[in-house]
């Protein structure tokens, strides 16, 4: 195994970035503000609007957050992968509605494309152009070959991409499309002719999601013919780790918020946290968060220092984080009791974000099935 830094790559700069992100989001995206922003209207039949603070987005672009893992040659900062992971964790801790995490994910796909077109796209990302990946079909398959978008004989794109994350916040899409040579990646502008977007009505109030319909849409090819799936595969450990980090951050919020409630809420003349039926599961939530956090940092570190192991380690992280996401959110609602079941309690924002994150790129059992194929070998 290759040598890895003991600190996972968290040097002074990365820790400073994390701390400043935590402070910025605490100042500008408190749970109180967030609830007023995204949960103002509880009606299930409310208009399907994409609610986010674009002014804040411009501020974080100015702070350089979209540039952290863009190579210096492309106008970025060129920090280790854990820098992006640290940001994703803070985004999760604040349930911050923004295209930051998907744009960080797009960075890793573009880094794997190795073409002048990809370098230009990276430069745009460093300058703040929000970008997301369109790679799956209506059934939600997560293999790099899963696309049902086709490259037609004129080089245009036809078909449907589903479950595109934060699509309405993004200015461009990286689209995987099937050609005669295999899978190619295309960069497509959000306002390209022939592209239409239908927004999903999703449970998570802090994200948006859409289907993209392509009718002879022109894009810029990012990869040499037939190698698009390789680029997605190469970036997959980072994509899995970014989602895991988001769940770790949200899990910490859920734990700390529930612990505070358990210290103050009194029943049977005792604070709830006195009772071991509450205390012990909260400790279990902490244990699961710690596992997920350490595994996520490890996977991100391996992505830079031990790429041959990175996919396995990232699937471990995503598996652990996904199970933790379900457990941390379920315990938070349950231990908040009656109030935890209401719309006015902020817990539901994080509950819903965790439910969304845990299934993206495949849930815990899916990750373990793929891990078993890698470690044990395919079943007969």
């Amino acid at each position: 195994m290759a040598e890895q830094p003991k600190n996972f790559g968290f040097g002074e700069d990365e820790v400073m970035l994390r701390d400043s992100a935590r402070k910025f989001l605490a100042d500008h995206c408190s749970s109180d503000k967030l609830h007023r922003l995204v949960a103002d209207d509880y009606h299930i039949e409310r208009p399907n609007e994409c609610v986010w603070d674009q002014g804040l987005w411009q501020q974080i672009v100015d702070l350089g957050w979209t540039a952290v893992c863009v190579p210096e040659a492309a106008g970025g900062i060129g920090m280790p992968t854990v820098a992006a992971i640290a940001l994703a964790e803070e985004v999760g801790r604040a349930a911050f509605p923004s295209p930051l995490s998907v744009t960080l994910g797009a960075t890793f796909v573009l880094n794997a494309c190795d073409s002048p077109e990809a370098t230009m796209a990276l430069t745009d990302i460093a300058a703040g152009k929000a970008t997301t990946l369109a790679m799956t079909d209506e059934t939600g398959q997560w293999s790099s070959e899963a696309t049902t978008v086709q490259v037609n004989k004129d080089g245009g794109l036809d078909g449907l991409a589903a479950f595109v994350q934060d699509a309405r916040k993004c200015a461009q899409f990286i689209v995987s499309a099937r050609s005669e040579a295999g899978v190619d990646l295309y960069l497509v502008d959000a306002d390209a002719a022939g592209l239409s977007l239908s927004a999903d009505r999703i449970i998570d109030l802090t994200r948006d999601q859409a289907r993209l319909h392509f009718v002879n849409v022109q894009g810029v090819r990012l990869t040499t013919s037939g190698t698009g799936a390789n680029a997605i595969d190469a970036a997959m450990p980072a994509l899995l780790s970014l989602l895991a980090a988001d769940m770790v951050g949200a899990g910490e919020w859920l734990l700390q918020t529930t612990v505070e409630y358990a210290k103050t809420r009194v029943q049977f003349e005792r604070p709830l946290g006195f009772f071991q039926a509450v205390k012990h599961p909260l400790v279990n939530v902490m244990l699961n968060i710690d596992n997920a956090k350490s595994l996520t940092y490890n996977a991100a570190c391996a992505f830079d220092h031990d790429p041959g192991e990175a996919l396995k380690l990232a699937r471990m992280a995503k598996s652990e984080a996904s199970d933790m996401a379900v457990f941390s959110s379920s315990r938070a609602v349950q231990f908040h009791g009656g109030i935890g079941f209401t719309w006015e309690c902020y817990v539901h924002l994080f509950f819903k974000r965790q439910m969304h994150s845990q299934v993206m790129l495949g849930d815990a059992k899916y990750q373990r099935a793929l891990l078993a194929d890698m470690v044990i070998g395919k079943a007969a």
Partner: protein, 414 residues
């Protein structure tokens, strides 16, 4: 060069080289007798004697008690025990038999005994000539450790001890015991005092050691009865009434959270000699691939594959948690990960053994003495034995209280 070697101090680097040289020439080789999975399960005197000889030679080579001052039999070095431990682990040496002595008694004596007692007891503790046991648990004081009923009564310059200790591992070999007991019946916590007691020389003269048989059918621990045992006052550690404070030193080191690193060797797989491999993910996968259950290879069962992967992920997480706990910027609370280690490690081993016997299917019914038992029946045995450690040293329910209260800041359950 490994990560740990790169950051060695000059003293550590020189010592590491010395350990490597000595170990390359003095590995004790395979034991002539069967050695159980851990020191606490030792019952054969021949096995104990062989392991004591190994500890003595490691001590003579300077690898035991490295960080203690020379006046008490130590090496007088700074943070070199961890170096010796790493090198012994790398050389796959046998484990050290006097684990309660080194892990619990030594730091407690060092921080709380008077100087002449330290000089008297610690050298033979480190060399393994004296085996130590721990007299904490009682029939009425398990998780509620402060509920001690064993009583020491002052009689001139002596103390007279009466009472009943249980679950006392290694007492059947022990020369000495660390003893927590009551000296004041009025005050639960401030009425405790702490002693070191020469139990072997008092056998039949105020001390009785009887084996307790574990649920596995094996001996392993004991009960120890005190009937008017007289010991001198100099064997008291710290003040009368300070026993709870002293016990906290013991428990902190037991949990690996004390200032002194416990000497530890190991890595020599005891199972190699019987051709049986237990205790690792690799061995679990090998078992699943080789074992037929319900008419198919166990490794093809999706439910078992999922369980094995869950364990592999937990195992990796334990290692990565240890790595992260060494980086202060990545831990919110300095004790958050160290205080998890006993809980997480013992539950992992229990669940590993449980999955293993489920892999074995119907054949998991066969015990160690059945010729057809897969893996020599070691997995069901390991599963049963795993409860010893999820209960001992503060049952895991108590560990969860400690984590909830000290790390999360939840109100005390008691």
């Amino acid at each position: 060069m490994s990560e740990s070697e790169r950051k060695d101090s000059p003293e550590q680097a020189a010592f590491r080289a010395q350990c490597q040289t000595w170990l390359s020439e003095n590995h004790p080789g395979r034991p002539p007798v069967s050695i159980p999975q851990g020191a606490l399960e030792l019952s054969d005197p021949a096995a104990m004697a062989w392991l004591q000889q190994w500890q003595k030679s490691a001590f003579d080579a300077g690898m035991i008690g490295c960080d203690y001052p020379t006046e008490v039999g130590g090496g007088g070095m700074d943070q070199c025990q961890s170096i010796a431990n790493q090198e012994m682990q790398r050389a796959k040496t046998p484990y050290l038999p006097n684990i309660i002595g080194m892990g619990m008694a030594a730091p407690t004596i060092f921080f709380h005994a008077q100087d002449d007692v330290k000089a008297e007891l610690l050298p033979k503790l480190f060399s393994g000539e004296h085996i130590w046991c721990q007299g904490f648990s009682e029939p009425g004081a398990g998780s509620d450790l402060a509920n001690q009923q064993t009583f020491a009564e002052k009689d001139g310059d002596n103390w007279v001890i009466n009472g009943h200790k249980v679950w006392t591992s290694l007492a059947h070999f022990a020369d000495w015991m660390i003893l927590l007991c009551r000296t004041d019946k009025e005050d639960k916590y401030n009425g405790l005092s702490y002693f070191v007691v020469p139990i072997k020389e008092a056998l039949g003269k105020g001390v009785t050691v009887r084996p307790l048989i574990k649920m596995t059918g094996q001996t392993g621990f004991n009960e120890v009865l005190f009937d008017d045992l007289v010991i001198p006052d100099r064997y008291r550690l710290d003040d009368v009434g300070a026993g709870w404070k002293v016990a906290m030193t013991t428990l902190a080191h037991e949990r690996g959270a004390g200032p002194l690193t416990t000497p530890a060797s190991g890595g020599m797989a005891t199972e190699e000699e019987s051709g049986v491999s237990v205790g690792s993910i690799g061995s679990l996968i090998d078992l699943a691939k080789s074992h037929q259950r319900l008419g198919q290879t166990a490794a093809d069962d999706p439910a078992l594959r999922d369980e094995i992967m869950k364990l592999m992920i937990r195992r990796e997480a334990m290692q990565q948690n240890t790595r992260r706990s060494g980086v202060p910027a990545l831990t919110d609370h300095p004790m958050r990960i160290p205080l998890q280690s006993k809980l997480v490690g013992t539950e992992f081993n229990q669940d590993l053994a449980e999955v293993a016997y489920r892999i074995e299917g119907a054949a998991s019914t066969l015990y160690v003495n059945d010729d057809n038992a897969p893996a020599g029946g070691q997995w069901p045995l390991a599963y049963m034995n795993s409860f010893g450690v999820t209960i001992a040293a503060g049952a895991n329910e108590v560990q969860r209280n400690i984590l909830g209260e000290r790390v999360l800041g939840l109100p005390k359950s008691k």
